[in-house]
Symmetry: C2
């Protein structure tokens, strides 16, 4: 495994970006600026023209782009969930064995499942750059948008760790750090930390029986509804398709009912203490991220995938990855 | 009515502050700095000594302070809900008819009810300064803590508008602006905009099934759990005793269940649009507060109380109040 992509590593692989919106466009601009061979495609001729003006070579059709890919290229499906679900099996079918396919969609298990229904599941590595997305379109793309972004790269049963390392190498070389996680762990986590808070914010903003004016002074209301400022189409694109959100919302409703019971019986102190401590723990992980130990994970070790997932679970992340030597440089919290 | 407190207005009334913690202490310091005759009391001798050092005259006992009050004094009960519920009937009993009693507790209807069980309900005006309270104690009090704070002054069936105006005059002269509201409207509003968000934040922080590390990049989680950083004792003091919180939480759970159903059937777009528009309306009220029309409300008009409440409901607020002329200068949103 160690030398499989050695040539690709030395020459920088071709990166083909299908979809040149905010994320795809920014990734293309960044890879381009670092000397990667970047090839883009957008269904929109104006976007293709704008990408050309920005120095990104584009093909006139997706088929043409895929047919002309060199060996060991990386194809990035940079579109929302629904189109990517359609594109993924086709692109896997249309490209040679050495080509790896990734994506930037904010839910991961539906794509893992879509790949699993093809004979090419090992050639897919799911990715989710957790970057701000309040705008959209190539005109909003910036060469530095993804700088220092935290990505999740999925590690599932069928994931080929060599290809995972190839994607990780490009991600860390061009933009940010990587939290390794399984697709299900990713989706459950974002259901709780992102999709659920969106639902809570919308529902709270709508309100029912209050004077808006009184909310002016309430920082708790301001913060709790902030993400409802996001355009509704964008919120729908973010939360739609997460198969774990229904169970997460049910779980949360259950916990609110318990909180209501505690309020009724005057026993709410324990809940408030637990909530306070949980938030503090989160703040500590955030602060400790600045002060962590550096370790090297050998990707050809038999437990490399488990090791990477364990590191992600405890707050560690991959800062660089070298496929030529099959190693990932990882920061993990000090014991 | 117009001249009842004319003398008091010209000479500035005596302000007696029972409880010299963060809010009571800050209010005492501010009134003192503006030349009011301020008299304080705290059960804690060290706090009394510290207040004396800061130039605030203190009595050795609450009874002594109350017995020596001049006519038309204002007594501020600056303690948490439970002690204020005990103090209120006693203080009303112990002070002469011309003395008005107010408070700074974050729920209002239990105090309205406590006053209503005495023959002195007309002498009580509930108040809630919506100011930051992440610290506590006289050592944290600052002369400018309440500057520009938004207060709610309650207007209920038994409220005496002349006394309401006296409290409003002191509040606007010393610190901030006033949203007029009934005690029930206040409690329902803060249940939704403050107490409920606290419960949501605690419950969300505790979580259930997610990798904390993945939350690092999620601004929605950071904002939605921020108030869980507040000390649990303080949160309990804020939310405890609001008789409307149980119904509010039940109402919210109901709305979350509806949201879950909409997610299941793929019809969530309407909810997201409504939530977005509601948050935008709130932002507009906030911005328009800078650009409002100025009107004068004549407090001896028969519909003055209704007029003030209507102004509060639509985002207006009282900026100054003159008991000598029985008028309130009010900003209200332009039609």
């Amino acid at each position: 495994m160690a030398n499989l992509y050695c040539m690709a590593t030395l020459t920088k692989p071709t990166v083909a970006v299908l979809g040149l919106g905010l994320i795809g466009g920014s990734l293309a601009l960044k890879a381009q600026s670092l000397g990667y061979d970047v090839r883009g495609f957008s269904r929109d001729p104006d976007t293709r023209a704008a990408a050309n003006d920005a120095g990104i070579g584009t093909a006139d059709s997706q088929d043409e782009l895929l047919q002309q890919l060199p060996d060991h290229a990386l194809v990035v499906l940079a579109a929302p969930l629904e189109p990517v679900l359609e594109m993924l099996p086709k692109v896997l079918d249309q490209t040679p064995e050495s080509v790896t396919v990734t994506d930037v969609v904010s839910v991961k298990s539906p794509l893992r499942d879509a790949a699993a229904r093809t004979p090419h599941a090992h050639r897919f590595v799911g990715a989710h750059p957790m970057a701000g997305t309040s705008e959209s379109g190539f005109h909003a793309a910036r060469v530095d948008l993804l700088d220092s972004a935290r990505w999740v790269l999925t590690l599932d049963r069928r994931t080929d760790l060599t290809r995972w390392a190839q994607v990780a190498q490009i991600v860390t070389a061009t933009t940010g750090q990587i939290t390794p996680a399984s697709s299900d762990a990713h989706d459950r986590s974002v259901a709780w930390i992102s999709h659920l808070p969106h639902i809570l914010a919308e529902t709270l903003a709508i309100g029912s029986d209050w004077q808006p004016a009184l909310g002016l002074g309430a920082g708790s209301f301001r913060d709790a509804t902030r993400v409802a400022s996001t355009r509704p189409e964008l919120v729908e694109a973010i939360i739609a398709g997460n198969p774990h959100l229904d169970a997460t919302l049910g779980n949360y409703i259950e916990q609110l009912m318990q909180a209501r019971e505690l309020l009724r019986t005057g026993d709410v102190a324990g809940l408030l203490t637990d909530g306070h401590q949980a938030r503090r723990r989160w703040e500590q992980i955030k602060d400790e991220a600045l002060d962590q130990g550096q370790v090297i994970v050998h990707l050809d070790a038999p437990d490399a995938a488990e090791r990477l997932i364990a590191i992600g679970t405890t707050g560690g992340y991959v800062v660089s990855c070298t496929t030529a030597r099959a190693t990932a440089l990882v920061f993990e919290p000090e014991k």
